[in-house]
């Protein structure tokens, strides 16, 4: 495969054939269906981000500040000094091409500029031109730039950056195959950060960031509506189970603070996963007197700041710790989210830590120490639940999920960003009998992205999303056809939304479930009545005819 891809051939072909449209020829055609709308000025103003204005990517004039080239040059310089990985990634790529065919956006769109190596070259070519000696010398000879793979920063180059850095979900699949471990996701992160210096964000990121900064969650839902939603779930759960699982909010001195992405509270089908958490917490309260609190202030686990800049990510992340400190809990339990875990696992500790006012997380029910969360003080709920199951602390009725023929989608960030691979599978297999893996080159570390991560889950770029989703969908369709899989399990809020849409287009027979929705269905609450429906109010297996 990739070893047959003679990258020099590949790149030579791309580089030096202007007739067929070399990528260095920088006229970029920004196509509706692929790009996301520009950030609204109000949303940039909230964060005092640079250059807030109305602009349209389809216009010639992007209303850039006059000295924009200088801003970019200095921006690159500053980041080369600050982030060692960035400097290394700029220097060490040998253009071996091993990553070229590993990106879901390349595989789905067929656009060569979505090959990770070329995505990175967009930025690397400017780096070579501006910051390497060879590049500087060559740039003085006519045609010399191309020889050294460098090129000067022009408006056209900038547009190419914008178009293609917002066609990368920062999923890191390419990095798994790179012999040097070059992480193109980090190059995209830098690229986006530089674009943000000129006010070139997309609205699907900027507005959630602004909302989160002001009200604590991406959708901008006020605390009372947050509570209303959970109250409503409480009513539904009582109807299904006969048990009142009323959650508690902002309780000082609770054992654990629970934070989940707001998508679980406000968007289907995440809402059912949320009900699963509520059932679990009620169970743990009744059986083991564990005291879990929700917060209407830290009402967002996700962090779209991560898709904007390091600084923005830090600002949004800080509220988790601030709230944990204010409430005086022992540690934080985090819900089923994707990028939230990459932020926590890779950045939180150095960004806002050390959180030495919190305790090193120990499961009070089993005594298990969560070693990997020792320093972040934040534990992933599937790890927590897997631990409870392993120690026989949960009473489960698998038969309630027996109509679910499952497969599991590894979300990029928990899988590649923190190595959480087996715990969700362990949970699923303990609450459901029918489980089939997708082919090995599409799961675990090699998992294919949903195609909508890193802030690209907008509506206007639906063609990009569906094309990027193809490699994932292709594997889902395979297990659907072969084993009759009807349910795609996942542990990410973006996935619950994005995979649902992906299935609607590619494999309409498959539904998307969060792992804790299945746990909520199976868990036997003390004092519950005979359940007739699952959390979606659909009849349980064997109860289908009871109405008639």
């Amino acid at each position: 495969m990739s070893d047959e891809l003679k990258p020099d051939e590949l790149l030579d072909k791309v580089d030096h054939s202007p007739a067929s449209g070399s990528w260095m020829d920088t006229t970029v055609q920004i196509r509706p269906g692929i790009f996301s709308y520009a950030a609204k000025p109000e949303s940039l103003e909230t964060l005092s981000a640079p250059n807030p204005r109305q602009w349209n990517p389809l216009d010639d004039d992007w209303k850039l500040p006059e000295n924009w080239q200088e801003i970019i040059h200095n921006g690159i310089k500053e980041r080369l000094e600050k982030f060692r990985t960035f400097k290394i990634f700029m220097d060490v790529c040998v253009r071996c091409g091993a990553c070229a065919d590993k990106c879901h956006f390349f595989l789905g769109t067929g656009d060569p500029l979505n090959m990770p190596v070329l995505r990175a070259e967009l930025l690397r070519s400017v780096y070579r031109n501006d910051f390497t000696t060879a590049g500087k010398i060559l740039s003085k000879i006519p045609g010399g730039e191309k020889l050294g793979g460098g090129r000067p920063m022009t408006v056209e180059v900038l547009k190419q950056w914008w178009y293609y850095f917002f066609q990368c979900t920062e999923c890191r699949r390419c990095s798994v195959f790179c012999p040097y471990g070059i992480d193109t996701a980090e190059i995209t992160i830098m690229g986006r950060e530089l674009l943000n210096l000129l006010g070139l964000n997309i609205d699907w990121i900027a507005t959630p960031v602004s909302n989160c900064y002001q009200t604590g969650n991406h959708l901008g839902i006020q605390p009372h509506a947050f509570k209303d939603m959970l109250d409503f779930f409480t009513e539904d759960i009582e109807e299904i189970t006969g048990v009142n699982v009323e959650p508690q909010f902002n309780v000082k001195g609770a054992d654990i603070l629970f934070i989940t992405p707001s998508g679980d509270v406000f968007a289907d089908p995440g809402t059912y996963t949320c009900q699963g958490y509520m059932i679990l917490f009620k169970y743990l309260k009744d059986k083991y007197d564990l005291n879990v609190t929700w917060s209407t202030y830290a009402s967002e686990g996700g962090n779209f700041g991560f898709f904007t800049s390091h600084e923005t990510m830090k600002r949004l992340n800080a509220k988790m710790y601030a709230e944990a400190k204010r409430l005086g809990v022992k540690w934080i339990l985090g819900g089923e989210c994707g990028h939230m875990w990459r932020v926590i696992n890779q950045y939180m500790d150095t960004m806002n830590g050390p959180a030495d006012f919190l305790e090193e997380p120990v499961n009070p029910i089993t005594g298990t120490k969560f070693e990997n969360a020792k320093s972040t003080k934040m534990v992933h709920i599937t790890e927590f639940t897997a631990d409870l199951i392993k120690h026989g602390k949960l009473e489960l009725d698998k038969s309630r999920n027996s109509n679910r023929v499952m497969t599991f989608h590894d979300s990029c960030n928990p899988a590649r960003g923190m190595g959480l691979l087996d715990e969700p599978r362990y949970c699923i297999q303990n609450v459901c009998d029918n489980f089939f893996e997708m082919p090995e080159n599409t799961i675990r570390e090699q998992t294919f992205c949903c195609g909508s991560g890193a802030g690209l889950n907008a509506g206007e770029n639906i063609e990009l999303r569906m094309a990027g989703a193809l490699p994932r969908a292709n594997a889902v369709k395979y297990v659907h056809d072969k084993f009759g899989v009807n349910t795609l399990g996942t542990i990410c809020a973006i996935d619950r939304a994005a995979l649902s849409t992906l299935c609607e287009y590619w494999v309409p027979e498959v539904e998307v479930y969060g792992v804790h929705e299945l746990v909520g269905n199976a868990l036997i609450l003390p004092g519950e009545k005979k359940r007739e429906t699952d959390l979606r109010m659909e009849p349980l297996p064997g109860m289908e005819d009871d109405d008639e």
Partner: protein, 166 residues
């Protein structure tokens, strides 16, 4: 030899050339990847294209059934409907078959065969339109379905009827 027999005899050769012609609709760097990688999960576009062409070819040997034909075309068309193709470029690969068959078979395949290929093209166009419609529908209803529905169940907003979703 009757036309179906000669088509069958040259099945592999025809499909191979048809496949080559079809992936030529992509930029050359992409076409190389699509043509080379054999694992269907590492190369979903190449393998879906191959699968569709084979199935369509087999349909051509029978009396054409428009429904089955569209199903056979679905994998390749569903993909092309979300890629950078105009409608005519998305289905244009079908017509390549006429030329390829003419060049490979010793005896000219005749008008009947050409008409069959035209029918395949029409079926491809139908399926393309259906895929585009489904994309527009998804685009129009996605966020309302996911977010509004949850609020609506909670009684926080008024109920939407199905037609309001559009």
């Amino acid at each position: 030899m009757n036309i179906n027999k000669s088509l069958e005899k040259n099945r592999k050769k025809i499909i191979d050339q048809w496949f080559e012609a079809t992936i030529k609709s992509y930029p050359p760097e992409t076409a190389r990847v699509l043509g080379r990688i054999k694992n269907r999960f590492d190369n979903p576009v190449g393998s879906a294209t191959q699968e569709s062409l084979e199935n369509v070819f087999d349909q051509l040997l029978k009396d054409l059934d428009p429904g089955k034909l569209e199903d056979a075309l679905d994998p390749v068309i569903r993909i092309r409907a979300v890629q950078k193709f105009t409608a005519s470029d998305a289905v244009g690969f079908v017509f390549e078959l006429k030329e390829i068959v003419k060049n490979i078979l010793e005896n000219a395949p005749g008008e009947d065969f050409d008409r069959k290929v035209d029918q395949v093209a029409l079926a491809a166009f139908n399926r393309f339109m259906k895929c585009r419609e489904s994309i527009f529908l998804i685009k129009a209803t996605e966020s309302k379905k996911r977010i509004h529905r949850a609020f609506e169940r909670a009684g926080l907003v008024t109920e939407l009827k199905d037609e309001d979703l559009l």
